[in-house]
């Protein structure tokens, strides 16, 4: 499943050829490894208008061992090392006129950005603006950031975080995520944070230490990657999959020191059995990842009821039923629980031959948004992650042409890896991510589909 084209484009002769022919030149992305510093180089922080986050961001980055530089001047004067990240505090915007200062800061800084660099813009949500002019300025950032993401090369990404007044305390976890290698394939995204009570003193290397996590569909592919990453971050993983996948499931569980639970999540007694297992063996659960999913593709006009119903049962109804049962069961879902639901790019953009799948995955988004307030009340969160083109055994079976096109039509010009989805889920599962709730985070390299 190696990306032969990416490897070729990064080889000596490949670099020359792709440059001369103007072919895409996908980069080798910076991905997270334990012990890695937050950034491979310094960060530069600037403001548009009179923002309120700059000092906090500076302290946060310095606390993480990052050197923070002063902004590069418009005439291109250098200030030491090239930055690995450019952060813009845009919380001071009052009208579109203020955007000029955003441009003034970003243009020279982004020009000097290292490969696999990060552009992160922090702003107030447009919906909470006090005037149409302010709303316009805030919304303008959307277009700005998404366009920067499309202009960046060399594996760099640009993302926007909405920070309403009062939610500043929730900022650390998303900022760390978007700057780190964990967000390698998350590009051109807008994520909102809200105020939340967060635990103090999180272990950055093992943020899930002592936590119990359930991952459905964990026997292979993206589910196995999620299980591995959650275990790497310190969680005890209860790996769930259908009984027929038990052999692969046991291997995953044994690799990560977790436990295997063979369970058909669509069975009527599945919620009761899962809850009994969690209660008896672990006393409760902190993290639930609804990853299990199936495809039964056919054009709508040719789709039979069995295809429709089985996809809905696994991909949507089971997520609803298990989540509801966990909410109802006394003392099983821990107060700071994190539920992460796997949606899909198909659920956002639609996909030919996938009316059932796309409907189920769009349904997941509706479910997450509707449940978010109730989760917030229990100091818990529920979010969705929507993978784009992720290189798995399944995509390896696609015809070469379809696969190549599918994997290149995004700003990073390559398919993502299961670990990219897993890292995003593991981030949302962190205790410190309590301010991220009801969000849909795409892991798609800023795919052109449904953007």
């Amino acid at each position: 499943m190696s990306d032969w084209y990416r490897d070729f484009a990064n080889s000596g002769v490949g670099t020359t050829i792709t440059k001369q022919l103007g072919l895409p030149r996908p980069a080798v992305l910076r991905r997270y490894e334990p012990g890695q510093p937050l950034l491979p180089g310094p960060a530069v922080i600037g403001s548009a208008g009179k923002g309120r986050l700059r000092d906090e961001l500076t302290a946060l980055l310095r606390g993480a061992g990052v050197t923070v530089q002063s902004p590069v001047t418009a005439d291109g004067a250098t200030d030491g090392e090239k930055p690995a990240a450019v952060l813009l505090d845009a919380t001071g915007l009052t009208s579109p006129a203020d955007l000029a200062s955003a441009h003034d800061f970003l243009a020279p800084a982004v020009k000097r950005l290292r490969p696999s660099g990060r552009v992160l813009v922090l702003a107030d949500p447009p919906g909470e603006a006090t005037s149409p002019a302010q709303a316009a300025a805030r919304q303008a950032l959307d277009g700005l950031v998404r366009s920067i993401a499309k202009e960046l090369r060399g594996g760099s990404t640009a993302n926007l975080v909405h920070v309403p007044a009062g939610a500043e305390g929730s900022l650390a976890s998303p900022v760390r995520f978007f700057l780190s290698g964990r967000s390698a394939y998350v590009d051109g995204q807008v994520v909102g944070v809200s105020a939340a009570d967060l635990p103090a003193g999180e272990d950055v290397e093992a943020p899930l230490a002592g936590k119990v996590a359930v991952v459905t569909g964990a026997a292979r592919g993206i589910g196995a990657a999620i299980a591995r990453v959650l275990a790497r971050d310190g969680a005890h993983v209860v790996a769930v999959d259908i009984p027929a996948s038990g052999q692969a499931l046991a291997e995953v569980a044994n690799d990560i020191g977790g436990t295997a639970l063979q369970l058909d999540i669509t069975a009527t007694d599945a919620p009761a059995r899962l809850i009994e297992h969690l209660r008896e063996r672990h006393g409760g659960v902190d993290v639930v990842v609804h990853n299990a999913g199936i495809t039964r593709d056919k054009l709508l006009v040719n789709m039979d009821a069995a295809r429709w119903n089985s996809v809905m049962a696994v991909n949507l109804q089971a997520q609803l039923d298990l989540t509801q049962a966990l909410l109802d069961a006394e003392g099983v879902l821990e107060p700071n629980a994190r539920v992460v639901c796997v949606s899909s790019q198909s659920g956002i953009a639609g996909n030919r031959g996938q009316t059932n799948y796309a409907a189920s995955k769009a349904g997941v988004i509706g479910m997450v948004r509707a449940w978010a307030p109730a989760f917030a009340e229990r100091r818990a969160t529920i979010n969705a992650v929507a993978p784009g083109f992720i290189v798995t055994e399944m995509t390896a079976k696609m015809p070469l042409g379809t696969r190549e096109v599918g994997s290149r039509i995004n700003s990073l010009q390559q398919g993502g890896l299961p670990v990219d989805v897993a890292e995003t889920i593991a981030w949302l599962a962190q205790p410190g991510s309590g301010g991220v709730n009801g969000q849909v985070v795409r892991v798609c390299g800023q795919s052109m589909l449904g953007a």
Partner: protein
């Protein structure tokens, strides 16, 4: 040594689906199957890198290279390499005997946890060189001079190329086990129809158990198989009636390929521990192993059936525990042959047998058939000799756990050599 004994807890089990001989597991060795089964157990109970007190398992058909089969399987598994292990062999009683041995050490406080198991393959069976050729080769190996070597080699004959093949036959009678069972079936006048009915019920019960997810936490798929290969959910008495008998002779022959267990490959394991050990590890206690008993009969000269020993073991165990045969919620009588189950039940119902052979004042009586092998048994699942005991112990423990506290289950397993093993479990 502990001043008092304690009852060992059965925490759970794992087995691989049983495969028909020379089929799905044709290329898997005993060690492959036992290792995979241990790894499935490790995954189910989170035992990675842990040292359990002891792993006890065995195989009936065993290659000479597998002298340390269980220990080698442990070394290849995800358990700590510091886990001791040893092999046992008591024919078809191996798996249950292994569980008894582990439970006894736990009861004595010598170990806190242990795994009992068994494995057998009739596909990857050991072939030995011809006995004459073996002697020649040993002489050749011992020879020191050229003259001695030539003399040893001169003993080789073409007919020595035929290998020694393990046979499912009693060494002292030369009869296949099925032929022995047929003699017993005739003695006890066990009819064809009742055997076929028992067989169909075994298949239907096993299929229903799979369908309701009973085996979800007892079985881990292996080499593409996720259910027992011998299972025929659509089996009917009418269909079975069309089969020709394969054991016994002439008009009265009743035993067919369906109401006898087929040759099978597979492995099973059971996790046992003290109650304290289970609690410390956050693991459930499904049931306790209360007591067990073995017996043997003289089937060569004594006029007793080869597979009738459990009938003798039972009253001894019942008396020791102050129980009657009717004091149980579930009965697991190993279905080596449908006729064996029926002969055994009939013997317990027979006042003359119970008086003359078992030395009892009255018959042990009949059991409620609705409590017999309720989730299927060997006729449907198959019977990889040493793996059957572990299959039954884990399944019965789960049944008792589901039924609630204070429920009792009985196990009866017959074995080659005229032996039998019985045990009581209680939730």
């Amino acid at each position: 040594m502990a001043a008092q004994t304690r009852k060992a807890a059965i925490v759970g089990g794992n087995r691989i689906p049983f495969a028909r001989s020379n089929s799905a597991y044709a290329r898997a060795s005993n060690q492959d199957m036992l290792t995979a089964t241990l790894d499935g157990l490790v995954a189910r109970f989170g035992l990675q890198g842990q040292r359990v007190g002891e792993v006890v398992a065995g195989a009936v058909l065993k290659h000479s290279r597998d002298f340390n089969l269980t220990r080698e399987s442990v070394l290849g598994s995800r358990l700590s390499a510091a886990t001791p292990a040893y092999d046992v062999q008591q024919a078809c009683g191996t798996g249950l005997e292994a569980a008894i041995l582990v439970a006894n050490k736990i009861a004595l406080g010598q170990i806190e946890s242990g795994i009992a198991g068994g494995v057998d393959t009739t596909s990857d069976a050991p072939l030995a060189v011809n006995e004459d050729l073996r002697r020649v080769l040993i002489s050749l190996n011992n020879a020191t001079t050229l003259q001695q070597r030539l003399k040893a080699l001169s003993g080789i004959r073409p007919n020595q190329l035929a290998p020694e093949i393990p046979r499912n036959a009693e060494p002292r009678t030369g009869l296949a086990m099925g032929d022995h069972a047929a003699i017993t079936a005739k003695e006890w006048e066990i009819g064809r129809e009742e055997q076929d009915e028992l067989t169909v019920r075994s298949h239907r019960n096993l299929a229903a158990a799979y369908d309701r997810g009973f085996f979800d936490d007892l079985v881990t798929p292996f080499l593409g198989l996720s259910r027992d290969q011998n299972l025929r959910p659509d089996s009917t008495v009418e269909k079975l009636a069309t089969l020709k008998p394969v054991f016994g002779k002439g008009e009265g022959a009743t035993m067919t390929a369906a109401n006898s267990t087929p040759l099978t490959d597979g492995a099973s394991t059971v996790l046992l521990g003290s109650d304290e050990w289970a609690a410390e590890h956050g693991l459930p206690v499904l049931a306790h192993l209360v007591d067990a008993q073995t017996a043997a009969v003289d089937y060569v000269h004594g006029g007793e059936g080869l597979l009738m020993a459990p009938a003798y073991a039972m009253p001894v165990m019942l008396a020791r525990n102050g129980l009657s045969l009717q004091d149980f919620d579930f009965y697991e009588v190993h279905e080596a042959f449908a006729s064996t189950v029926l002969s055994t039940l009939k013997a317990w119902e027979d006042p003359a047998f119970c008086k003359e052979r078992l030395g009892l004042d009255a018959a042990l009586g009949s059991i409620d058939r609705a409590k017999l092998n309720v989730n299927g048994s060997s006729l449907a699942a198959g019977h990889p000799f040493a793996a059957t005991g572990g299959r039954i112990v884990a399944s019965l423990a789960k049944m008792l756990h589901e039924a609630g506290p204070g429920k009792r289950g009985l196990i009866s397993i017959c074995a080659a050599g005229g032996q039998g093993v019985v045990a009581v479990l209680e939730s």
